[in-house]
């Protein structure tokens, strides 16, 4: 290796930079329902507490991509929060303090994940259960977006279109008000609330909790639920990034349109995704549903793009504290040429946003739905002395147009908002809009140009 030639390190590093939405941020720390059991520590508590605090503060101080910390006096933040350390008695309290400190940055992808809530081995998969329901943020709250058959949510009578008003003792309206006071932008607030509900309902298998729901007709009710094991496959942990339950849906619709949905960006999903896209005929359309996808492995965004383009392109760049990394997407030999629709909503975050913005900027896809979360900071995970995981952003993504996604989100080409009534009726206006567009695209390709008719030769006498 000489000078500017650590070339083999960079492509590899890019592949493990993660862009997955952070766990609950500091403003939500009070609503965390998972108690933190004490760890077996070789260090005494004051030492462990101090070292953990130092590691978090120093890591941000040294690696945060913005040397100005967005105008935040990071040194003063340290002073303020260090003064509160002596009163921190246990890991849960320390986690709260650290979350609050990280919250001063007002950026996504900073958070502390309790080790006991993370899955690194098959035996630990019981730490993340599921109720079989997915949520989305509409203009006025968090709604049930999907209920899997034969799931705890289905059995408890949770319906698509129900608004979530409460999880245990946490009232979402009150939380929303606190976030508003805190200055969180609307897009991030919607994403945060949806992510919070999702996170809380992923508690350890067997955890019981109460969901407060409001039906489309205004009827309020509460349901008792207990989480069950995830029925599908799991990803493998990548370093300190824990394993995730995987969902992958691929459907060839009656008109030949391909529909793809993935719940996270994880390597095991790349192979079936690639196989599905490659078997689509050139005259088909593709709908890529990224709604409620919080992100994952950043490298999958260019990887998927490569299946959809005929030549090498760029999805933008990631600005680091020093230097920058590009997002080149290399065209695959058997790429898909047909029209591509991407569905996004307020819970589409991180790698979902990078991919959506990239395809939109290239003119390769048309985006439908709602403005995305605006939470797209590539991040890394490290383990703290307490054993908890610390997610921290190391880069800022700029699209090929030079725009920043963080705090702004990706704006769809065709805004389509669902209503609770539509959800309740089983309608998906976003998907319907995408289908209609694909049909129109095909019709336009098949219709001969008007001039050919106008210049038809006159009949001979």
């Amino acid at each position: 290796m000489r000078g500017r030639t650590t070339r083999w390190l960079l492509p590899w590093f890019c592949s493990v930079v993660l862009c997955a939405a952070a766990p609950a941020s500091s403003a939500d720390a009070a609503a965390e329902t998972t108690p933190a059991p004490a760890t077996t520590a070789e260090l005494d508590w004051p030492t462990m507490r101090q070292r953990t605090f130092d590691e978090v503060w120093i890591t941000v101080n040294e690696s945060y991509f913005d040397p100005t910390f967005g105008g935040v006096d990071w040194a003063a933040v340290r002073t303020e929060f260090a003064a509160r350390l002596p009163d921190v008695a246990d890991k849960a309290a320390l986690r709260l303090l650290l979350q609050q400190m990280l919250g001063e940055l007002k950026r996504s992808h900073f958070g502390i994940v309790p080790r006991e809530a993370a899955v690194f081995t098959p035996a630990e998969r019981a730490r993340i259960g599921t109720i079989g329901a997915e949520f989305t943020a509409l203009a006025d709250g968090v709604y049930v977006f999907r209920v899997h058959p034969d799931s705890p949510a289905a059995r408890a009578g949770v319906h698509v279109g129900d608004a979530v008003t409460r999880v245990n003792e946490t009232v979402l309206a009150e939380l929303d008000a606190r976030l508003t006071e805190y200055g969180m932008p609307p897009a991030r607030r919607r994403h945060h609330l949806t992510w919070a509900v999702t996170t809380w309902t992923r508690a350890a298998v067997g955890t019981e909790f109460t969901l407060g729901l409001r039906a489309p007709d205004g009827t309020e009710r509460s349901v008792q639920l207990a989480t069950a094991p995830h029925p599908g496959e799991w990803s493998e942990p990548v370093g300190n990034f824990p394993a995730e339950p995987l969902e992958f849906e691929s459907v060839r619709e009656a008109d030949g349109t391909g529909y793809l949905r993935l719940n996270v960006f994880a390597v095991p999903l790349m192979r079936p995704l690639r196989a599905f896209v490659r078997q689509l005929p050139a005259d088909a359309g593709l709908i890529l549903d990224l709604r409620a996808n919080p992100g994952g492995l950043t490298a999958m965004a260019p990887g998927i793009t490569g299946l959809l383009v005929s030549h090498d392109v760029s999805l933008g760049r990631m600005r680091l504290r020093e230097g920058e990394l590009g997002f080149p997407a290399y065209a695959q030999k058997h790429h898909f040429d047909g029209p591509v629709a991407v569905l996004i909503d307020g819970a589409s975050a991180s790698t979902s946003e990078i991919l959506a913005a990239g395809l939109q900027g290239l003119g390769r896809a048309r985006l439908f739905g709602e403005t995305s979360a605006g939470a797209a900071l590539p991040s890394a995970f490290k383990q703290l002395p307490t054993g908890d995981l610390f997610q921290y952003a190391i880069g800022d993504v700029q699209t090929i147009k030079g725009e920043t996604i963080e705090g702004h989100g990706v704006v769809p080409d065709v805004p389509v908002a669902s209503t609770p009534a539509q959800l309740a009726a089983g309608e998906d206006p976003v998907l319907a809009a995408a289908r209609a567009w694909i049909a129109a695209e095909h019709a336009a390709r098949e219709t001969p140009p008007a001039s050919a008719v106008a210049t038809a030769p006159a009949a001979s006498p």
Partner: protein, 475 residues
Amino acid sequence: MIRSALLLLAALALLLFAGCATTPASGPRYDSSAVADVFERYITASGGRATLAGAQTLFVEEDVVSERDGARISYTVLRCSTTAGLFSLCTTFAEPGGITDMAFNGEVGWRRNAALGFSFLSPAECQSLAAIFNPQRAVRVSYSYRRQMRLPDSVVHGRACHTLLLTPNSGTAETWHFDAVTGQLLRIESPGLTPEQSVALEFDDYRIVDGQIYPFVERRFEAGTVTTTTRKVVRFNRDFPDTRANPSFTELTEAAEADRILNRYAASLGDLQALASFTSRYMESVLENKSSGTKTVTRLTIKRPNRVLVEEETPGIGLSARGYDGTTGWSANEVEGYRELTGLELAQFLGSADLYANARLPASAQLRRLLPATEVSGHPVNVLALATMQGPLGTFYFSKENGRLLRVDGIATSGTHSSVPMQVEFSDFRLVDGVIFPFVITATNPAMRLVTTVTSLQHNVPVDDAIFRPRREDE
């Protein structure tokens, strides 16, 4: 990596004109009249002895383009030279390289770039460049080779050629092809000391300039790189512009110190002959990303002349492989599937296929700046900022104790997309097959810390070429 064409030209000149003096020692040395006949026709085709003998200075303005697998570097050269061996060049690269002057004033030769540094031209470089830039080059060629033989006629680009085998005082024999009809020199082939060093030169577009007949297009073929020189202006007997400032005392002393440091570095590598003799390398290592906790097992296989395979396995991501089989560069992994490497990305990747890479630093570092000494991990070090004429290589820290390279501060690149400043430290040096290698490499940027630990390193292992072939299963 595409290197300075001038450096390559100098290397070729060393091969072509090894042992050449500025004046012939004792007349031409022909093995036979057949050889003499070819040379005489060549001299006639170049303008004749009288015209050539009257050329005292040569001025050339030329554009140079180096290309390999789609990656392209271009620059311009203005040069003046005399039969007395003096020369002055001005090479202009795109930024960050800028302008580099090279000159020989009869006593000392040097390169100078205002931003990137200064270095001596070695006596051999001066001699070679003086020979190749000599306005009377055509008439002096025959004096440069101790053995000259006529070979059977050949054909170059459809043109019948008379062929000579010329052996310099040092280096391998060269094959020269002269057009059988015109006598013009069309092609030179030099096999080099290693297959990677084999070079071919072709000459075209001969024009009459001030009575001489001079090639206006020259192409150089070396290890997949094609360098095309197109001359825009050629003039003989212009006044030699002595505008280059002679080196200052500071430049001279610092350049001498830089040479000493780099020579000591080369010596610290161990047995360089052994290094040059390696035909293959197999290395296993573990790359730990401290920022994310990942551990990647890497297996690197290199086989001369230019085959390389890099396999990386990361839990949770899977297997990633990149290779070059001599024809096709390729990459295959779970995320991107299969694709072929081209252009700059391929050129960068092939840099990892160089078994001799560690030893090339002194030759690659054409420009040097001596920086204040300091310490690296408690070890006193000498510090040099090194560069090629195209731009900086980085800042290099050499142990004062033993000359070893302990740290490099540079820019890590990937294609044209990524540029990340990295600080790389080398430690745990071990002797393997006579050569010293670092077994721990730590690369740091504010966003990442990567530690590579070598777990196995072997040379001259049998390697099946089949392993380098593209893995198109997922194409």
